[in-house]
């Protein structure tokens, strides 16, 4: 393995007046460009561990290396300007505008002001906020999801190689959280930062992590591995319990819509003829047509009986399209949406919201089968020759 971006070497943290150390003798390498998740029950020391990386909490003993350099005794303020930091409450500065918030670290690094202005706009665009709309607003004028994005933009502004994220999506409603998670993964494909990410939610860990460190008391590593490995071969009972039941359902968090061949659904254009649509619908043998607008964005589900009504325009009849996910969404997201949809299919759209295809229950079942099969293969291969077991199948 090449040099890790972050190396924690036998870190220990004892808080004053506490008998048991919060973190004891922890060694962990974080490879460059990966999202490493620290996950574990509350009080396991995961946040303490993360905060020792930028020395918000000073370790009692042990060493911290960043890009091969020992930073255990470096100037903490200089160190922190090289490390992005996003906490659960986000902690935007309420008295400063969004652009001043994002410009914080570049200003401390004394960038020229033209470069700072350009960087602020670039960062806001990167997280999907229109700079001309948001630059001069104050945090209180933003929704929770928008604040979270500004928090990420602010952490990325000085282009630090490393980001620390402490339950960054923890305080956000489930629907927005899912969208932000997907956006963040798309973003990470571009920026390729080394990220240490703390969560208590194993599902989030499986979804977001390239690697997961499952921690138990005193930040002892129960298992440090890829999500696939942790799900298919948990190291011990603790990990098994922590993953919880339904490991094969959780594997749906590992695969994304874009990795699958989507189903084609019969579609109709909003300026089409109703008679032809009805004929198309009969030919397709589905319950409804998917009506697209001029930008090919899904707008309505049109059933046969909707099409037979001539009294209302097309975009007012039929059912609203509720179950829509992006290409980055996992099959678990798609399944979630599907369960709420009356049509039984989730529509997949691209970044601009245009229709790509659909995911139905057959795709999900096939994915579960494939994963179960490959997990079984893997564990059989591990068991090896000593147990010469035959897979009798069903």
């Amino acid at each position: 393995m090449t040099e890790p971006m972050i190396r924690l070497d036998r870190l220990t943290k004892r808080f004053p007046r506490q008998a048991i150390p919060a973190v004891e003798d922890l060694s962990l390498d974080v490879p460059e460009g990966e999202i490493v998740i620290l996950v574990g029950p509350s009080g396991c020391g995961k946040t303490t561990t993360m905060k020792m990386v930028n020395r918000i909490i000073e370790p009692t003993s042990g060493r911290i290396e960043l890009q091969g350099e020992d930073v255990t005794d470096a100037n903490p303020d200089q160190l922190r300007r090289r490390i992005g930091y996003v906490i659960q409450q986000i902690g935007l500065f309420p008295h400063l505008t969004i652009s001043d918030n994002v410009a914080t670290v570049p200003r401390m690094l004394k960038w020229p002001s033209g470069r700072i202005d350009a960087r602020v706009d670039e960062m806001l665009e990167l997280v999907g906020l229109d700079p001309s709309l948001f630059r001069d607003r104050y945090p209180k004028q933003l929704s929770g999801g928008q604040r979270q994005r500004v928090g990420v933009a602010r952490a990325l502004a000085a282009d630090p190689p490393v980001m620390l994220m402490d339950e960054p999506f923890g305080a956000i409603d489930p629907i927005t959280r899912e969208r932000l998670q997907n956006e963040f993964l798309r973003l990470q494909e571009e920026i390729r930062k080394t990220i240490v990410f703390v969560t208590h939610d194993i599902d989030e860990a499986i979804k977001m992590g390239d690697r997961i460190a499952i921690l138990r008391d005193r930040a002892q590593i129960a298992q440090y591995d890829t999500p696939e490995q942790i799900l298919s071969s948990p190291a011990d009972g603790f990990v098994e319990d922590f993953i919880g039941s339904g490991a094969s359902l959780k594997r749906l968090n590992l695969v994304r819509a874009r990795d699958y061949h989507l189903s084609e659904w019969p579609t109709a254009d909003s300026d089409g003829d109703r008679g032809e649509m009805l004929a198309d619908l009969r030919r397709a043998g589905k319950g409804a047509l998917l009506l697209l607008d001029a930008q090919r964005r899904p707008i309505r589900w049109l059933r046969a009986r909707d099409l037979q009504r001539a009294d209302e325009p097309l975009d007012r009849i039929g059912l609203e399209v509720r179950a829509v996910v992006s290409r980055q969404a996992t099959l678990a997201d798609a399944l979630n949406e599907m369960l709420e949809s009356r049509i039984g299919s989730t529509v997949v759209v691209d970044g601009r919201g245009a229709y790509l295809g659909t995911i139905d229950i057959d795709i999900i079942m096939a994915a579960v089968d494939t994963m179960r099969h490959s997990a079984r293969e893997a564990s059989l291969a591990e068991l090896g020759d000593e147990h010469d077991r035959q897979d009798t199948g069903a």
Partner: protein
């Protein structure tokens, strides 16, 4: 002589005393703000020192003003100087208390994210904590100012100047018609001065508080 005739004749004197009164109050509040802010900033994270400072400045406020002025005069002699020192002492408690309350009220997540971005202790204080605590601190300064407008009148007894001069003149002539006019003139001037200063503080607060926390 009725009050309005009196007012017409003594308008200039009254205005001069009012301005003098305002000056004494504002100088004292300014000194008190510098000292009070410094004490608040130095002690807000240290519970024991904080309690000590708040108790001592609290005790200042309980000393009767006449007594404090007398003590000051025996040290410094007659004049404006002892009055300003005594008034400064009275101004401290609201300013220190509001500085501490304001700074402790800043969201810890905001402070931590500032720290996490590499702001040092002083930068954090200057750029994050003080601006966020500012409306509360300014309220403390405003309360002190209002308290001092009243107490400053007593300062005239040690030749401190201000609207107290007319009040003591009135006291010396109790029973004469001039006494009532003198007292009423000072009375209304003090109320008016208080109202004007209060309005100025509201404007100052609007002008110096970020739109993001208003």
């Amino acid at each position: 002589m009725d009050f309005f005739t009196y007012l017409g004749g003594n308008y200039n004197d009254l205005l001069e005393q009012t301005l003098e009164h305002a000056l004494i109050v504002l100088v004292s509040v300014a000194i008190g703000s510098v000292i009070g802010l410094a004490l608040g900033v130095l002690t807000y994270r240290r519970p024991r020192q904080r309690t000590l400072v708040l108790s001592v400045t609290g005790v200042f406020l309980t000393i009767p003003s006449l007594a404090l002025f007398s003590v000051m005069v025996s040290i410094l002699g007659l004049g404006t100087q002892p009055v300003i020192i005594a008034l400064t002492m009275y101004s401290l408690l609201p300013i220190v208390r509001n500085t501490v309350t304001g700074l402790l009220g800043v969201d810890q997540a905001v402070v931590e994210s500032a720290q996490g971005m590499g702001m040092g202790r002083w930068q954090r204080l200057r750029r994050i904590e003080l601006p966020l605590a500012w409306p509360v601190i300014l309220t403390g300064i405003r309360v002190s100012t209002m308290v001092l407008v009243g107490i400053a009148a007593i300062g005239a007894i040690v030749n401190g100047g201000g609207l107290g001069q007319d009040i003591f003149a009135a006291l010396a002539r109790v029973g004469s018609p001039a006494a009532l006019n003198l007292a009423l003139g000072a009375f209304f001037a003090i109320i008016l001065l208080g109202a004007v200063l209060d309005a100025l503080f509201l404007l100052l607060s609007r002008a110096t508080t970020s739109r993001g926390i208003r």
